[in-house]
Symmetry: C2
DNA sequence: AAATTAAAGGATAAAATTGTCCGGTATTTA
DNA sequence: TAAATACCGGACAATTTTATCCTTTAATTT
């Protein structure tokens, strides 16, 4: 569905959001451990998200990553996905036609459309803050506990 | 959504199906031209599908690829996708958790579930023959015409 | 049987994705 | 202001995906 980079990025953002909601800034090492992702690779993805202003970073001691209250409230899953994977997967044709539309639809066009619309809606309507709360309440997990 | 290989594979299968429905066997060159795909790469994918018995090939002059009437009627989009991309995308967690389930759901688990179910249902209920008919009737396209 | 045709299969190459390493920069604390 | 901390950025490496080429194999036609 999403790239590895995107999966890590989303999980990381939610974890950072969870901690930010509790007033805690978190470092890369902590993040990678808590979402079970490769540290250096995660760093690259977080850099992208900081540049896209979807999350905030602070250098130096006591530094780390955080989401501002506004970011917690307004940044959506969709923004993360677009920042990392680009919009192609949220718009492109399921069979790979460069221009698939009502003018020249692929044979699955009208069947896929509602599903993709639902996916878009799903991503658009869920904020990081909301998902972070779910994790905080123990209703969602960001890695496998055994 | 799907890999390039899968996109080519599906488009190729539908084109072969369309021609098979008209009693015509088709060669690789023809297929690649009609679905606008790289010839040698398409050959590899078709080999996979032949091995998986989702379509049939005949060597030598007048040879080529075809779908038997039974294959036309019974082979589903889902079988193609599984043969080429594997089942991961149709089952795996959206956030990449190795074991995402009701026991330990990711924060999007219950939101994604219905969408993935719909996707599975969509793939399961559409046969190559059905899609080939749509193309035959001019209601669907396998490449961009300008 | 020989020549021709077309898929099968193996080796290889290019590109994209995933992942690592390390020196540079900014910030805080002592 | 020196030292320590932690993100930034660039280069590099491994893996996977995409793509090509060429020889072999099987089948048809002459």
């Amino acid at each position: 569905m999403f790239s590895k980079a995107c999966e890590y990025g989303i999980r990381a953002a939610i974890y950072i959001g969870q901690q930010s909601a509790g007033g805690r800034r978190v470092g890369l090492k902590d993040i990678a451990a808590e979402i079970d992702s490769p540290e250096a690779f995660t760093a690259k993805i977080l850099q992208q998200l900081v540049r896209a202003q979807l999350l905030t970073s602070v250098k130096g001691p006591t530094g780390g990553f955080e989401l501002t209250p506004e970011q917690l409230r307004t940044v959506t899953l969709r923004q993360l996905v677009v920042a990392i994977d680009g919009g192609a997967m949220l718009q492109g044709c399921a069979l790979g036609l460069p221009q698939c539309s009502a003018q020249q639809p692929c044979p699955m066009h009208y069947q896929f459309l509602p599903i993709r619309d639902q996916l878009n809606e799903l991503l658009r309507t869920h904020t990081i803050g909301e998902l972070a709360s779910k994790v905080q309440e123990g209703l969602g997990f960001l890695k496998q506990f055994s």
